[in-house]
Symmetry: C2
């Protein structure tokens, strides 16, 4: 069994509609690459009790929890104190990170930006090559920035520190057909391959109905066999394959 | 107090990284327009027990719950039976919707596409102008499609049936400054306007640090006053305003 994970996106700006999140999709794809099964995602506001509740639920339920957002220098950045309360530990300043921040901000160093050197007591700092504050791993919780550019760097630094599993294999075939025309045959194939996720995703292109049929799983041979079964089924239905 | 809401996004394809969700942002913006406070979002897999658990938690916690995804004709579309179990009611076929589907699919009508006429017993069908199956409202749960184009139509048909509140007002000012330089002054303004959300969102443009400062709330006069306070504070700091 692969390790499992959840993502907790922290930020009023996502729920107010101001910002369209792109971090979920990025993390999802990277986790699939390295064999960690992303099982759930939640988005909560910048409110301590909501963050604590979600952190404690999700870290107990999955191998890993990734948080994004709320780790900057302003009053709405409350991920670190909230996480510390969730774990029942103090907030501690990391003096190596503080030294880096003092070097980076120089004359503009102040109490606000030094807060980015604060971590839950016991957290491991995840160093990366850039000058801004690193993320951290607190037990099984990986703390990442909300800004996508910074999040990507922090995520790549953290992934080698985690347990990897079997990467996900995917085969997809697209047909010019409504998904309802092949629904029953597709279900029969899903039932033959219970370890795989067989998905059906309809769309329209210039008014014409198309469907993407996707087989996903960690066993490459099973994915290939299911793909062959889907292809044969489509041929039996006389469905027109859509060139990718 | 405005009505509150959560969104439940149902679909393996979001968590596998295959599909980047855009429905959260669309619904968030529309709810802000009509004064419904979006407080939480969850993404779960196409698994009955996970859907039931999330539905029952979120419908009890907020005025409204919007679900997206899982209402098509294929085996992975299990939102309606899961929702019915969550409410402890049977799945019932709506004969008016069935008649519409038979007309639309004509010779291609089959058991799979007629499943789109099934609803939890007691749900209100939300009719809209297009030929495909309508969504429904079951008590305080609004059931929407996952396909963005279809979701948008269903959402607009459902919104007039809901309780509206005070729409959100927003004022934003952008500065060429690191957010840490103004963090303490901004927090003081937040403390003076506890009913507003004052947010700080950093970014970089060609290596130069910028920050968007945002005041949001349902009281337009308060939002305006906070915006003026932020602008005065920036002037005191000698911060360079970035033209929008």
């Amino acid at each position: 069994m692969n390790p499992t994970a959840a993502i907790l996106i922290i930020g009023n700006e996502i729920l107010s509609g101001r910002t369209a999140d792109s971090n979920l999709n990025h993390i999802a794809r990277r986790l699939a690459d390295i064999g960690i099964t992303l099982a759930e995602c939640r988005v909560v506001r910048d409110r301590e009790e909501e963050i604590i509740d979600a952190v404690n639920t999700l870290r107990a339920k999955y191998t890993y929890l990734f948080t994004t957002g709320g780790i900057g220098p302003t009053h709405d950045d409350i991920t670190i104190p909230s996480l510390s309360k969730a774990f029942g530990v103090a907030v501690e300043r990391n003096i190596q990170v503080e030294a880096k921040l003092r070097e980076y901000y120089a004359a503009r160093t102040n109490a606000a930006n030094l807060r980015m050197a604060d971590y839950p007591a016991g957290a491991r700092v995840v160093w990366h090559g850039e000058q801004f504050a690193p993320g951290c791993i607190m037990e099984n919780v990986i703390v990442l920035a909300g800004l996508p550019r910074v999040m990507h760097i922090m995520l790549e630094a953290a992934l080698p520190m985690l347990q990897h599993g079997q990467p996900t294999h995917t085969r997809q075939v697209d047909v010019w057909a409504m998904e309802s025309q092949i629904a029953e045959s597709l279900e029969a194939i899903q039932n033959r391959y219970p370890n795989l996720d067989i998905g059906s995703y309809p769309y329209r292109i210039e008014g014409r109905a198309g469907t993407a049929l996707v087989a996903r799983g960690t066993n490459a041979a099973e994915v290939e066999a299911a793909f062959e079964a889907i292809s044969s089924m489509l041929a039996e239905h006389g469905a027109e394959i859509r060139a990718a």
